[in-house]
């Protein structure tokens, strides 16, 4: 993403603060009361189950069975336990590597493919689109087992690369579709003027389309990152050691006192912890999503 930033500013020199006046005439902080009700309702709906998760993460032992709406004796022991768990920290590292690499590569490959589909002359686009889609419509359980045997055979089993490759594959269709749809919305006029200046289609893609597509790329990045981050089935099938295990699997391996009990408190604490990288990601990409107006502005 960061490599794209300078290009964007080159194409759209306005400083972030200067964008506000160009936005729709509806000003800041003038929401209709009814809209506020909606905002609060949406926040409530999103937050209540999350609150329950946080609530559970602050409980220990018998208070887990009391169903209290507020923990009477909140404790951070669960969080402490999670951070003292070396395997969890290892898993956190694995997940970050896997998600970052997969997202980056997926964005590069998918933006190539999406540009070709959205802009270039090509035969059998419908067929290609259908094939791309078919990759994600297959039930994951039917794919996991054959991949397991193949991966063992070629030495990719229980490695980070062995997780990145299939996750990348299954992230690509979403990325390709989103970006194709997004590229399609970018006005052609801009490329046309680039062509006039003698640019090749690839240069037009790099210098014109990509900078304009930053909001689409950011949105796609978030979607891909989160789906890769949360994926469980492939992760559990294709890894066996803590050295390769990503977070969702590591959480599943948290132990209670027997095979029958789920350590609800620590699982919840870990779940809260692992949303933090995603919140950071969202906050980072925020500006990029917001900058969607740049595309609109240029179009007008």
């Amino acid at each position: 993403m960061s490599t794209l930033t300078p290009q964007r500013t080159a194409a759209e020199p306005a400083a972030p603060g200067a964008r506000t006046p160009r936005r729709r005439p509806r000003g800041r902080a003038e929401l209709h009361p009814v809209v506020w009700v909606f905002v609060i309702a949406v926040m409530g709906f999103s937050l209540i189950p999350f609150y329950w998760l946080v609530n559970t993460s602050l409980k220990k032992g018998v208070s887990l069975s009391q169903g209290e709406l507020f923990p009477s004796q909140p404790t951070f022991e669960n969080y402490a336990a999670v951070f003292q768990n070396a395997e969890f920290l290892l898993a956190l590292r694995n997940s970050v590597i896997i998600a970052v690499v997969t997202t980056t590569v997926a964005l590069v490959l998918a933006s190539f493919a999406a540009y070709a589909l959205a802009r270039l002359k090509m035969r059998r686009k419908a067929l290609i689109l259908t094939l791309v889609l078919s990759v994600t419509t297959f039930p994951a359980i039917a794919i996991a087992a054959p991949l397991f045997s193949i991966w063992r055979e070629i030495g990719l089993y229980d490695t980070l690369l062995g997780l990145i490759i299939p996750k990348l594959t299954f992230a690509l269709p979403l990325a390709i579709y989103t970006l194709t749809s997004f590229f399609k919305e970018i006005p052609r006029e801009l490329e046309e003027s680039a062509y006039m200046d003698g640019a090749t289609p690839f240069t037009a893609f790099r210098k014109v389309i990509l900078p304009l597509a930053v909001p689409g790329l950011a949105t796609t990045a978030i979607l891909v990152f989160i789906s890769v981050w949360n994926e469980f089935l492939l992760a559990v099938t294709l890894t066996t050691s803590p050295e390769a295990r990503p977070v969702p699997v590591a959480i599943a391996f948290f132990s209670g006192t027997s095979e029958f009990d789920q350590p609800l408190g620590t699982i919840s604490a870990a779940s809260v912890i692992i949303t933090i990288p995603l919140v950071v990601l969202v906050l980072l990409c925020q500006k990029r999503i917001v900058s969607g107006m740049t595309a609109g502005a240029v179009k007008g």
């Binding site: 069975s65 009391q66 045997s149 193949i150 055979e153 559990v236 209670g256 095979e259």
Partner: protein, 468 residues
């Protein structure tokens, strides 16, 4: 048998086709990667495109054959057996694989073994977070002839399946040699077609926890249900979600009522008055409030959590709950009893627990035998109870003063274990269990009548038994 031989013959050419293609596979992979890279950087001429496509196709074909090769295995009719004498000379490393090590017993045992043995270095690998997942992962490794794991910690209900597929070594000699170590009912869980395929490691049996201040000790199921229906806050919680646990809960009653699923010859016997009696009894219990309707959503943990709230009189659960209950305000107010008897019948139960099976693809069978020998010694079995709160498979351990100090309900537990029976023994056990729990659930939740459910159950069991 004849069918199987035919199949093997038919399979032979396929296997021959597969084997030679495997070694060249890495080359193919490298070639395709190389040419793919070239085509991406250089100018993409038509020819190169075709080469890439061809290489990719070759790789795909190679992978496909590899994948198929894993599944289509030929198997000798006589399973290889573990040799008890081999343990003495065991060396090298040993990998024990199984589910999540919640109580620490697996890691504890491999460490103690490594220390005691001196020549074999054992480690434990968690291959699945849940019992279902552990089985899936074990099956994947076994089907793929992986030598990663030497020993699999197997749920007692997996024995027939693993044995029938030739995935694990015949342990008959091993078990026979140390049979006096085991409580007889526990060895039965390792038996399939008159041979032993695993050694019991630790066992498990259901218990009833009850609030001494509110309700009486359960002697019969009828008495328990009557007491539980008596007052609000006295009711009974058990595992009634649609899953394996419901099969266990139902069979505990069915066995004590004298019913059975399959007889000694493997004939389906579920369509019986006993089955109807037990189902009607359970339904009536839900109706008159003896059992809370919420049990329809409970597996072990939610049942325990519900009971810990103090709003119930009885709970059916496993022994691990004892320690957890003692950490709550309920400590000292509850009693532990073996499963009650059916009125006019006897007490019975269903065995849980875990066995140790040796992978047929283990590269260190001698080490595996040594490990099993260590894990089942009467001395280590005491540690199983003392250090990890699991139910030993050795009877003497239950009377040991040290064990009794840590596990005061050991006498009740032993009674439950000795009275318990295995679940139906069949290579298609998962289908059998589904036929049971889905239909029992349908009756409990009110979507099927007892009569219809029993008929369907019998049909589905017969169909499962007839599986190819």
């Amino acid at each position: 048998m004849t069918l199987e031989k035919e199949a093997n013959q038919a399979k032979e050419p396929l296997v021959d086709l597969i084997r030679p293609s495997s070694p060249s596979q890495e080359d193919t992979t490298a070639a395709s990667v190389l040419s793919a890279r070239k085509s991406a950087t250089g100018s993409a001429s038509r020819r190169r495109t075709r080469i890439t496509a061809a290489a990719a196709a070759a790789m795909a074909a190679g992978l496909l054959l590899t994948a198929c090769g894993g599944g289509a295995a030929t198997q000798g009719t006589e399973a290889p057996a573990a040799d008890p004498a081999s343990a003495a000379n065991a060396t090298g490393s040993l990998n024990v694989c199984g589910g999540k090590d919640a109580s620490g017993i697996y890691k504890g045992t491999v460490e103690a073994f490594t220390k005691a043995n001196g020549k074999v270095t054992a480690k434990y690998t968690e291959i699945g977070a849940t019992t279902d997942e552990a089985r899936t992962q074990a099956v994947q490794r076994l089907e793929g002839k992986s030598s990663e794991c030497d020993i699999f910690v197997t749920d007692v209900i997996w024995t027939s399946e693993f044995a029938s597929q030739g995935w694990i070594l015949d342990q008959t000699e091993l078990v026979e040699a140390s049979k006096d170590r085991f409580i007889p009912s526990t060895v039965e869980t390792a038996k399939y077609e008159d041979k032993y395929w695993a050694s019991p490691f630790f066992t498990n049996a259901g218990l009833v926890y009850y609030q001494k201040d509110k309700v009486a000790k359960p002697e019969t199921w009828q008495q328990l249900y009557a007491e539980a229906a008596g007052a609000e806050g006295d009711s009974f919680v058990y595992q009634g979600k649609q899953y394996e646990g419901l099969t266990v809960n139902f069979l505990e009653m069915l066995y004590s009522a004298g019913g059975e699923v399959l007889d000694e010859n493997g004939e389906v016997k579920i369509d019986s008055p006993e089955t109807r009696e037990v189902l009607d009894f359970m339904v009536q219990g839900l109706k008159d409030g003896a059992a809370d309707r919420a049990v329809l959503t409970y597996n072990e943990d939610p049942a325990r959590l519900a009971y810990e709230s103090g709003n119930f009189g009885y709970q059916r659960n496993w022994p691990h709950v004892y320690r957890l209950l003692n950490a709550t305000p309920l400590a000292g107010t509850f009693g532990v009893a073996p499963l009650p008897a059916w009125e006019g019948g006897k007490a019975s139960g269903v065995l849980g627990g875990w066995n140790l099976a040796i992978s047929a693809h283990s590269a260190n069978q001698a080490g595996a035998v040594a490990f099993i020998d260590f894990a089942t010694t009467p001395d280590w079995q005491k540690h199983v109870a003392m250090d990890f709160s699991q139910a030993p498979v050795n009877e003497a351990a239950y009377a040991d003063p040290e064990v009794l100090a840590k596990m005061p309900f050991a006498t009740e537990l032993l009674a439950s274990v000795k009275g318990a029976k295995p679940r139906p023994i069949s290579p298609v056990y998962p289908q059998i269990s589904q036929a049971i729990y889905k239909n029992v659930y349908a009756v409990l939740s009110g979507t099927a009548t007892t009569e219809n459910a029993v008929k369907t159950m019998a049909e589905e069991l017969t169909a499962a038994k007839a599986s190819f």
